[in-house]
Every structure is written in C-alpha cells, then in structure tokens.
C-alpha cells in the first residue's frame, strides 16, 4: 500500500497520541495506588488537622465544634503546662544531643581502630537501638527505679543509688541516660561511615609530619567528618525533640509533670484532657518548630563542611 504524505502525517499523529495516552496510563497505574494511600493517610489528615486547630471541640461527635479563630494559638502563650513542657524538651534535647554524640563518636573511634575485638564491639554497642523505645523505657524503669533503690539500701551508697524516677531533676537525667543508651549505637554507625571515608594517606601524612593522636583527631579527622556531624546532629535533634515512647514507658511525664515532653503534652491535651482543637493547635506549632530547626541546622552545618 502506498501512502500519500497527508495520510502518513495523520497516522503518525494518531500513533503519537495513542502512545502518549498509553504512557499516561502506565504512569497512573504505577503511581496512583501508592499516592492514593499516601493522600488518605498523610495529606488529608494534615489539612483536616489545620482546620481543627481553629475550633474548640471536646472530641465527642455529638457536641458542637465552635469556631474560635486563632484563640487556640493565642492561648498557648499563657499555658504554663505547655511552656514548662517546652523548657523540659529543650533541656532534655540539649543534654541528650551532647551525650549521644560524644558517646557515638567515641564508640565509632574505638570500632574503627585495628583491634581484633572491633566487630564484636560494634555488634554489642548497636544492639540497644533495635529494642524499641517502649521496651527500653520499661527495662530502665526497673533499673533506675526499684533496682537502684534496693542497691542503695544494701550498699549504703544512697548518693547514686536511689530511685531516680521520683525526683524531678534526676527523672529528667534518667530520660537523657536512656535515650543516650538507645541512640549512641545508631549514631556510632553514621560516624563509622564518615571515619572510614577518610583516606588512609591523609592520616599517614599527618603522622609523618609529627602529629600526635589528639592532633590528628582534632585537626585532621574531625574537619573531614563534618558531613557526618551534620547528619548526626540533625538526626539526634529531631528524634530527641520528638521523643514519646521512652517518655511514656519510663516516667509517664512524672513526677509532677516534670518530664512531660512536647509530644506527650500534645497527646495528653487531646486524649486525656479532651481538648481536641487546642491540642491540635499545639501539634501544628510542634510541626512548625520541628520543620524550622531542621531547616536551620541543615543550612548552618552545610556551610562548615570541608571540601576535599
């Protein structure tokens, strides 16, 4: 069959159209199922959530939702419980970030030496991370609570061995200790990746030039693992700031609300005190803070990275 030019163009146009439609069909088939689920689970609740934060509601379907505008957000600044939980969260986060990173980095330095025990050490140090926060909290609740009290009675060393969970200050420290125990092994893994990426020659060159252990550590290794610092600070900051499971199982926010962190304060506001609208407003503020810290930190630490 001989086609004239016009026929040929028409057929080609139809073919391209068909192919485009077919490709669009594939695109939909590949992406739509996941996007549908994702939209119903994350996107829709996100927007409904913003809506709820402008209402006053006790969560009972039959009771009216009253529109209060920005009142919920204004109320936040006078809410002592919320302000206290902010203070606790910030204190806890700062302490935990420092401890986790010190431990994580030290562990990583031990594990990257040439000692034969390094693999066993890595296995053991990472283990706590896999036991979930809730279970960890229960383990330590026994140790720092009753077990410490009993050891104190038996040995007389009551300066260290007392029930840490009954005193507001030590309860906060307990939370820091448990979180450090959980996260240090995880952070260690990230530092290991950073340390292993340092070229052998650079360290050797430093030692040929007469640099000692500490000098090599601070002048050569640390600047070179700056990207790892970025990641580790980011990870510890956001996970400590959002702490909930350990908080719930270890102290439940007590004694006297002294360890009630952000996430738990939101949870209690909504599900215990039944202030659904107000609690949701807190949750939105929580989101804004989490997002803001993350952005700020990534920008700041990106600048400090050493170019190789």
């Amino acid at each position: 069959m001989v086609l004239d030019f016009e026929q040929y163009r028409q057929m080609k146009g139809a073919y391209i159209k068909m192919k485009k439609a077919k490709n669009a069909g594939w695109y939909t088939l590949f992406t739509l199922p996941l996007l549908f689920i994702f939209t119903t689970v994350v996107i829709i609740p996100f927007f409904i959530g913003i809506g709820y934060s402008f209402f006053s509601w006790d969560g009972l379907p039959l009771n009216p939702k009253i529109f209060v505008g920005l009142d919920n957000y204004v109320k936040l600044f006078a809410d002592m419980k919320f302000i206290n939980s902010t203070v606790h969260t910030v204190t806890f986060t700062l302490l935990a970030i420092v401890l986790i990173n010190i431990f994580g980095l030290s562990f990583a330095l031990i594990v990257t030496t040439k000692l034969k025990v390094r693999n066993i050490a890595r296995t053991m140090l990472f283990m706590p991370y896999l036991i979930g926060g809730l279970i960890l909290g229960y383990i330590w609740k026994f140790i720092l609570g009753d077990a410490f009290a009993m050891i104190g009675e038996q040995t007389g060393l009551t300066g260290i061995f007392f029930n840490w969970l009954l005193n507001p200050h030590s309860a906060l420290i307990a939370l820091v200790v448990v979180t450090t125990w959980q996260m240090a092994g995880y952070i260690m893994i990230i530092y290991i990746t950073g340390i292993q990426a340092i070229p052998e020659e650079v360290v050797e060159a430093a030692s040929v030039d007469g640099a000692g252990f500490w000098q090599t550590l601070f002048r050569v290794k640390f600047p070179l693992i700056m990207p790892s610092f970025t990641i580790c600070l980011f990870m510890t900051l956001s996970s400590c700031f959002k702490i909930f499971d350990v908080n719930l199982s270890l102290t439940k926010g007590g004694p006297y609300n002294s360890t009630e962190m952000f996430a738990m304060n939101i949870y209690n506001e909504i599900f215990s005190r039944n202030n659904y609208g107000y609690g949701q407003a807190k949750a939105i503020v929580f989101l804004v803070i989490v997002a803001a810290i993350t952005m700020v930190q990534v920008t700041i630490t990106k600048k400090k990275e050493v170019e190789m």
Partner: protein
Amino acid sequence: MNKVKKFFLSMVALLLCVCYLFPIYIVLVNSFKDRSELYENILSLPSSFSLQYFAEAMKKMFFLKAFSNSLIVTLISIFFIIILSSMTGWMIMRVNNKLSKIIFMTLVATMLIPFQTLMMPLMQEMGWIRDNLHVPMIDTLGGLIYMNIGFGASMAVFLYHGFVKSIPVSLEEAATIDGCTKMGVFWKIVFPMLKPTTVTVIILDVIWMWNDYLLPSLMLSSASNRTIPLSTASFFGQFTIQWNLAMAGLTLTIIPVIIFYLMAQKYIIKGVAAGAVK
C-alpha cells in the same frame, strides 16, 4: 603498637561493651528469680534456671497471639510498601515532568511532619470512613497495615528514587525496543537491580514497625488485635509490682529482636547506615 598494649586496649574495649549491655543482663537474670530472691540481690545470677515465669508471662501477655499479629502487620505492610514505592519511585524518576517533581517534593516535605500532628485528624478521618463508607479501618490489622503503607511511603519512594538515578536507562530502552511493556521492563529488569535499596527499606521498616507503639495503640482497641508493644504495655501496667514476671515478659519481647539482629546483622548495619546517610 606493641602486642601487650594492643591486648590491654582490646580488653578495655570489650569490658566497656559488656558494661554497656549490663541492663540486658539484669533483665535476663531477674526473669528466672522468684520475688524474694530478686529482692535479696538484683545483680546475682539466679539460683535455678526455671522457665516457670516465662510460661506465666507468655500466657498473661497472650504472647503468641501478639507475636503473630506483629508478624502479620510487619510482613504485609512491608510487602506492599516495597511493591508500590519501587514502582512509584522508578516512574517519577524516569518520567521527568512537572507532575513527577511535585509528587517527589510533596513526599519529601511530608517526612518532616511529626506523627503527633497527624494522629487526631487521622483517627477522625478513619472513623468517618468506617461509619460512612463501611470500610473497617479502625481496630483491624488491615486498617493498621493500610496506614503503615501510607506512613512508610515517602521514605521508601525517596530511597528508590535516589537509587534509580544511578542506574543507566539504556538497558530499559533496549528491552522496550524488544517489545517489553512497562510492567515487563520494571519487574524483569529494574526491580532486580533495586535489591540493595529493597534490603534497606526492609530493614528500616522492620525496626520501625516492630517497635511502633503510638499508631497501633490509637487504632487497635481489642485485646486480640494487640501487637507486641501493645501487649507489653498492658502487661507491664498490670504487673509492675511483680518485677520478676515483668522481667520475664521483657525477656520474651527482646529475644526475637536479638535473634533477628544476630542473623541479619550485616544487612541491618548497612541498611541503617544507608537510610541515615541519604
């Protein structure tokens, strides 16, 4: 470094690690003791290794039921996350248009949202779906699996998207010329190459879902649906006075995790590192 110094340092390092895992030792030894023995000396080894408290804890926690619930939820959720996210990640990487960019940016941006911001509205929405569309989303394992897929989506797509970037298109093009459909190209050629990312996603999601407490606690209310963290929480709430029984319960929940860890250690450490350094 001479040998003596090396040996000494090794011992110090090992001792440090043993001290680090001391809490696990305490849980373990005290789960064999009876109450009076526990109160006598917490640190000592038990005088007899009877499994009596494990059996009791197992019964009171409905351990086997909880274990199988956790297993079902984790396995099925991960199965769907892998299939759906790898398909999406590949498609939006290969079709580089505006829509793909919007989808990708949305997924990445939502990784910042803490769960507490979504939990209440999510419950309301799922309640509405149950009441009006008669789909049992609340208090069913299926509902929990559905939500796990939604929450796991962004991370998995992100990882797959990044990995697809690094594999050349030429293989896929050759297969298309040979008459393979998109489905064929993806499952026969692309998906096998994505294996490293699939392993990472599996590891990260197992750690997350096996230990997840808040979402299941909000969504599952009946005792027969409890996952391991839920049954531990309710068990621990009832038996805090009987520490030996509580310790036996904790040992039960830790042991599967440790076995999994020792078996898949290489993959777990790699997967966690890959997931963090993204």
